[in-house]
Every structure is written in structure tokens, then in C-alpha cells.
């Protein structure tokens, strides 16, 4: 049971962060949208500060709480390029990612977010299945 403590606590914190952003600024805590808005505007300032906070929060976990940082992915760099391009393109086209659709959108019972979350989870699982069990792994 204790191995599920950190994931559950982390999840509760994500929910609290999203709740606070909605209550204070009336905004959805969707990271792909915030990152895009930070670059393209309008209203960039709060988005940049959210992103600064995001990295600071990570620093708290690893530096103050002392949790070891994860190891670097063994995937080759070309795969990171392909992955990043697809994640960036797909999240803009689909209007959100794991946080915006998966946490905030389902939280407000949006049909679009239920559908998007089902599709990207299934696509992610299918991709890992093909890479690991059909192609025999890429990394």
C-alpha cells in the first residue's frame, strides 16, 4: 500500500493546484495551453510565473524533501524529437493534454475531455505495446 502513497499524494496536490488556479484566476491548469500562451500571449505574465512555480515545485521535491531525481530516459535523441513534435502538435490540435483534459476537463465533466482522455490514453498504451512487444523496443 505504501508504494501508492506518493502517487496518491502527488495526485491530490495536482488537484489542489488546479482547484486553486480555477478559484483564484478562473483558469484551467492545462500545461500545454499555459506553455503556448506564455510564448504567444496575450496575458503572458501569470503563465510564466506558473511555469517558474512548476520548476520550483520540482526543486522542492528533490532538494528539500530529498526524493531522488528520476534517471534520464534511455530513448535515443531522434525519438525524443519525434515524441516532442507529436506531443506539441497533438495537444494544440486536440485542445489540451493530460492536465487540461485529464484532470481539469474531466473534473468539470466535459464530454470533450472524457473523449480526448480516452483517446490519448488508448493511443499511448497502443504505442507502448507496439514499441515494446511488436517492434521489440527502440531503446
Amino acid at each position: 500500500m505504501s508504494e501508492f502513497l506518493a502517487p496518491t499524494a502527488g495526485g491530490l496536490l495536482l488537484g489542489l493546484a488546479a482547484t486553486w488556479l480555477l478559484l483564484s484566476l478562473g483558469r484551467i491548469a492545462g500545461i500545454s495551453g499555459i506553455a503556448w500562451g506564455a510564448l504567444m500571449g496575450p496575458d503572458r505574465d501569470w503563465r510564466w510565473l506558473f511555469l517558474v512555480g512548476l520548476l520550483a515545485g520540482g526543486a522542492v521535491t528533490h532538494l528539500l524533501l530529498g526524493l531522488p531525481q528520476p534517471l534520464e530516459s534511455k530513448a535515443p535523441l531522434w525519438l525524443m524529437v519525434v515524441s516532442g513534435l507529436l506531443v506539441g502538435y497533438g495537444t494544440r490540435l486536440g485542445g489540451g493534454c493530460t492536465s487540461g483534459h485529464g484532470v481539469c476537463g474531466i473534473g468539470r465533466l466535459s464530454a470533450r475531455s472524457f473523449l480526448a482522455t480516452g483517446v490519448f490514453m488508448a493511443a499511448g498504451m497502443a504505442t507502448v505495446f507496439v514499441v515494446r512487444h511488436v517492434a521489440g523496443g527502440l531503446s
Binding site: S24, L54, T91, G107, L115
Partner: protein
Amino acid sequence: MKNIAALLSGLVFGLGLTLSGMSDTTKVLGFLDIAGAWIPDLAFVMGGALLITIISTPLILKRSAPLIAAQFSLPTKQALDRQLITGALIFGIGWGLSGYCPGPGLVSLLYGYESTLVFCLAMLLGMRLEHRFSAGR
């Protein structure tokens, strides 16, 4: 005031992402690998987050306005259209290739890994390309 509120939300969000294991690509890929040695951890992340947002969101939206902004800025689209499905499909494939989605990718910049930086730059380029292609729609 708006900026401090956003900073605080980002801080808690970053704390949650890293504490939960979402910034560990091995765990994320293990969660997505339902045919392998499945690692169920991340189901608890989403479960924990939804436990809060499903209760809090309708309560907050009963208010006429947020605390420090004039109005709520929520997505207005309702249609279950092709863009939504295609976009989610493309995103999911990309997620399954590296184990990074946008939040974990960005927070992992903290670790100083080359592969994370490459992912994040490619992600921004992907967003830019979508913006370019969708300009005509």
C-alpha cells in the same frame, strides 16, 4: 496578485508532478505498458487529482467570478470534432514514445538532461507547426 496566485498554483503542481512519479519516464511507460509488467502507480495520480477536481470544480463554478479575475476563462467548444480526436491520437502516440507529456517534460528540465531539453524544444516546435497549419482553418 494574479502572478502570485499563478506562482503558487505552479509550485503545488510541480510538487505534485514530481512527487507522484509523473516525471519519471520509466514509470510512465510502465503504466502505459498494460501487456508487460504493468506499473499501476499513475492510476492513483489521476485518481487523486480527480477526487479533488470533481468535487471542487462545480462548487467554484457556482460563484459569479473567481477571486482575483473579472470572469472565468473556460473552454467554450462543445463539439466532439475530428480535430479533438486526431489531436488526442497524435498526442497519445507522442506520449507513448518518450513517456513525457507537457507538464512532466517541462518540470523535468530541472534535471538538466539533454533528452528532456530536446523533447521540450521539439514540443514547442510541434505547437508552432500546428499553429501554422491551423491558421487556414
